[in-house]
Symmetry: C2
Subunit: 151 residues, 2 copies
């Protein structure tokens, strides 16, 4: 048995733990081994609202995570259902997210819910500018720095 | 000459126009023809803040658009520079966005700024659940509807 509810400040420790677990999982894709036991907060969904030009309000699902030992019990589905409800309540007609193409269990999970791989079907690629590039762009550290005066 | 500033309510008409132009552009990839003339608002960047689990705050760049006739003059670079400044001012160390893999001018533009294609390098795919799937998930319209009584 489990319940789905909004996160509370006192959940922070659990959420930080699971964010780390998810980062490990994504490194290892589907070969991760979890060792956690006895936790009462066992999964989380991290989402935010965005705005996609001509499509209006959108929800972006950043993370959806359920501890390894507790998968296959409908917890992930319940979390995703709640996010879908929140999306519709907020007049959002799209839920976007990214998945590693080696993460087959997740791809199966989302496709079973009707999700479409827009990278495959339309050719959308995810790009990133990291901190160093942002600093260069913004004209900050590392760019156009005056040469040190020679001794 | 051009200036980069925050959008104001009175820009709405121009922004809606350009959102539509961008939608057309993305349909046509790089073969779009623009007909607009005499506009004083000629480009826009649409971004929002998000939170990527273990990486902290992030900026998501939803749209970056400059009217066809005015490309190649540094306007897009100035918009992206401003977004980079805003990202850093807000303690964001990542700027994420998606690009169509047929949109070569944009890919060249972003890669010249140091952007990395995470779909190619790490295998991230963009997925989407649309309104119909969200409604099914949320248990709303179309799912588990009671059968109409037979006449």
């Amino acid at each position: 048995m489990f319940t789905v509810r909004e996160a509370r400040p006192e959940d922070s420790e659990h959420i930080v733990r699971m964010i780390k677990e998810l980062a490990e999982y994504e490194k290892l894709a589907h070969q991760v081994i979890q060792t956690a036991e006895g936790h009462t907060v066992v999964g989380y969904a991290l989402y935010f609202f965005s705005y996609v030009g001509w499509k209006g309000r959108t929800v972006y699902l950043e993370d959806l995570y359920v501890m390894e030992e507790l998968r296959g019990k409908g917890i992930g589905s319940a979390l995703l259902r709640k996010v879908a409800e929140i999306a519709l309540q907020n007049k959002c007609s799209l839920l976007n997210f990214v998945v590693l193409n080696t993460n087959f269990p997740s791809i199966d999970f989302y496709q079973a819910k009707g999700a479409v791989d827009l990278t495959k079907s339309e050719g959308w690629h995810l790009f990133r500018l990291g901190q160093e590039q942002l600093e260069k762009l913004a004209g900050g550290k590392g760019q156009n720095a005056p040469a040190s005066p020679s001794p």
